[in-house]
């Protein structure tokens, strides 16, 4: 397996390590292999962009790294723990502890205020604490908008609430799925600056994106095509790890 792990990262200090991970689904026409023998690792504090066309397996990879699903084959290690053999309940607990999600469509609950939306992540993690949630909103510059409903916030503000919600439980990994896909240029810059700041303070960021500008912010790009993984440094040549 050594040779399948991406150059430039060391599996022993990886916060995320995929070793021959395959995910198959039963379809009408037979078994569909959404992810095929994927192997790479991401070290703590690294910012990685995952790119690829629709149907390339990005959602499956997000599901797996986000602990929303388990591999059919192979091993997925997150923060030193293999998730492959976890029960669904253990996986739920592990996800709440380790992963902070940032979504393209924000996915704020429309009837809860910005503050309550942040507290929702606390609710499913442990106990709600309004003071902590407020300081998380202040961290993204939205302390003054805490009591507003999502419908009263701009797209950029909603995405910042989503980031505050992802940060509230201090997860070691931030999983951002097209974080600027629904934003205009001005808000895209605000969110990019926020992610840059979070990376600077040591957060590991795994970001799925179609946007070359956003991908360029990452230290490394992992490209997906037809369920297969290709890894390379942002400005370097694409290297297939599958052979």
């Amino acid at each position: 397996m050594e040779n399948l792990v991406d150059q430039g990262t060391r599996p022993d200090c990886a916060v995320i390590a995929l070793i021959g991970v395959t995910r198959e689904y039963a379809g009408h026409g037979g078994v569909v292999r959404a992810l095929d023998q994927a192997s790479f690792s991401i070290v703590a504090g690294e910012w990685v962009a995952i790119t690829g066309p629709s149907g390339s397996g990005k959602s499956t990879l997000v599901n797996l790294i986000g602990c929303l699903d388990r591999p059919t084959q192979g091993e997925l290690v997150i923060d030193g723990v293999s998730t492959s053999s976890m029960s669904p309940a253990e996986l739920d607990r592990f996800r709440a502890d380790k992963i902070g999600f940032i979504f393209q469509q924000f996915h704020l609950i429309p009837y809860l205020s910005a503050l309550e939306n942040v507290m929702l992540a606390q609710y499913f993690h442990s106990m709600t604490d309004a003071k902590e949630a407020r300081s998380s909103l202040e961290r993204v510059g939205l302390g003054h908008r805490a009591e507003h409903l999502p419908s009263e916030l701009s797209g950029g503000e909603q995405q910042r609430v989503c980031i505050a919600r992802a940060l509230i439980n201090n997860p070691p990994i931030l999983l951002a799925d097209e974080p600027t896909g629904n934003l205009d240029a001005a808000n895209q810059k605000i969110v990019a600056d926020l992610l840059r700041g979070l990376h600077a303070t040591g957060h590991t960021i795994v970001m799925v994106t179609h946007d070359p500008e956003m991908a360029a912010l990452a230290q490394r790009r992992i490209a997906l095509s037809h369920g297969k993984v290709f890894c390379h440094p942002v400005n370097g040549p694409v290297v297939s790890l599958e052979r």
Binding site: N63, G66, R93, I99, A121, F124, R165
Partner: protein, 368 residues
């Protein structure tokens, strides 16, 4: 804002999706109302049908072995002792007299008050008073045999009698050819006593059979017979109506349950992204199921409260219109209605959640 609880999330969710919540509540109210109404009517069916059957008249007839001597004088008292207090009893004495036109006619002596209660289905324009002794009730056909309906001239074995014709009777049966007069006047005129007692025993076939057994024991030598067609017909109709009602309850409950299931399931499925989000935030399968289930159960309880009131009102109205007596609310049906609604709500909440579990949260959150 000090905290966020499941109850506050649910309350806000229900208010925010008020149209969907309201339609789910309406569906559950309808299911509870239909179940309440049908179960209330079902529970009342026996008594209502038996009450209806009472209007068809006697279901047991006691006859003297010797028509000429009539029944012993204490027969009525003995019957009263072995039948229930709400049994309806009327005595009859029969003779054949001749009208002033020379036509033979059956005359029957009876108690007008008693036959009015016993045969409430008879169509009578004016009932004679039970205290008057010289009055007559003329069957529709018998009225044609006399010269003057208001002054009825009769003759029995050379004994003339004049009666005031008070009212006319129409049944479509033998009664139309008879002339009824008070039993006391009949006995004084013909010299014979009552020879037949007609009894209307309340209840179903088994109660009637039991009463007949008691009557035969109390009245040895008398002929005690059921009006077989009526008793068997009543039993058959009650059984068939029971089966029909039971089938209707099941069919309607099933139809309503499917409709409610569809409405509630749609409500849960349309929040698949909320489900995926909560899952991504660390919500466990059981905690999410509990949340959706709790919401459905709140709606189910609301539906039971409103449905019980509406269903009881519907049963009351249906009873009043069809049976002329209201069906009062029965608290005994409430546990069944509650159980039905809770089962529907539980299935409606848990089945879609099982479907959601098989979907990819990441794909749902991307809107795929």
């Amino acid at each position: 804002m000090s905290g966020l609880s499941m109850s506050s999330i649910l309350r806000r969710s229900l208010i925010h999706r008020r149209t969907r919540s309201f339609s789910a509540l309406i569906a559950l109210t309808v299911s509870a109302a239909v179940a309440t109404a049908l179960l209330t009517l079902y529970a009342d069916l026996d008594s209502k049908l038996h009450r209806e059957f009472r209007s068809f008249g006697a279901n047991v007839v006691v006859t003297a072995p010797d028509q000429a001597h009539g029944l012993p004088p204490d027969t009525l008292k003995k019957i009263g002792l072995v039948t229930s207090p709400d049994a309806r009893i009327a005595e009859f004495g029969y003779a054949v007299a001749t009208t002033d036109r020379g036509t033979p006619v059956v005359v029957a002596g009876t108690d007008f008050g008693a036959i009015r209660e016993l045969n409430s289905w008879w169509q009578v324009d004016t009932w004679p008073s039970s205290t008057q002794t010289d009055v007559a009730l003329l069957g529709q056909r018998a009225a044609q045999f006399v010269t003057n309906e208001h002054s009825v001239q009769l003759d029995f074995a050379g004994h003339p009698l004049t009666l005031r014709g008070v009212g006319k009777l129409r049944t479509g049966g033998d009664e139309d050819s008879r002339i009824y007069l008070p039993l006391a006047a009949f006995s004084a005129w013909t010299g014979t006593q009552a020879s037949v007692i007609e009894i209307q025993i309340p209840g179903g076939a088994s109660e009637v059979e039991a009463s007949i057994t008691r009557l035969r024991e109390a009245l040895p030598g008398m002929k005690v017979e059921p009006v077989r067609q009526l008793v068997e017909g009543e039993s058959r109709i009650v059984d068939k109506t029971h089966a029909l009602m039971y089938g209707a309850v099941l069919l309607i409950a099933l139809t309503v349950a499917v409709s409610v299931l569809a409405t509630l399931s749609a409500s849960v499925l349309e929040r698949r992204r909320d489900f995926a989000l909560m899952k991504a935030l660390g919500g466990t399968q059981s905690s999410l199921m509990a949340m959706f289930l709790f919401e459905a159960l709140i709606l189910a309880l609301g539906g039971v409260v409103a449905g019980y009131v509406l269903g009881s009102a519907a049963a009351w109205t249906i009873g009043k219109i069809n049976f002329h007596t209201a069906s009062w609310p029965r608290i005994g049906v409430l546990p069944l209605v509650l159980l039905l609604n809770l089962v529907i709500a539980t299935l409606a909440a848990l089945l879609p959640v099982r479907v959601l579990r098989s979907l990819e949260p990441a794909a749902l959150l991307k809107g795929e």
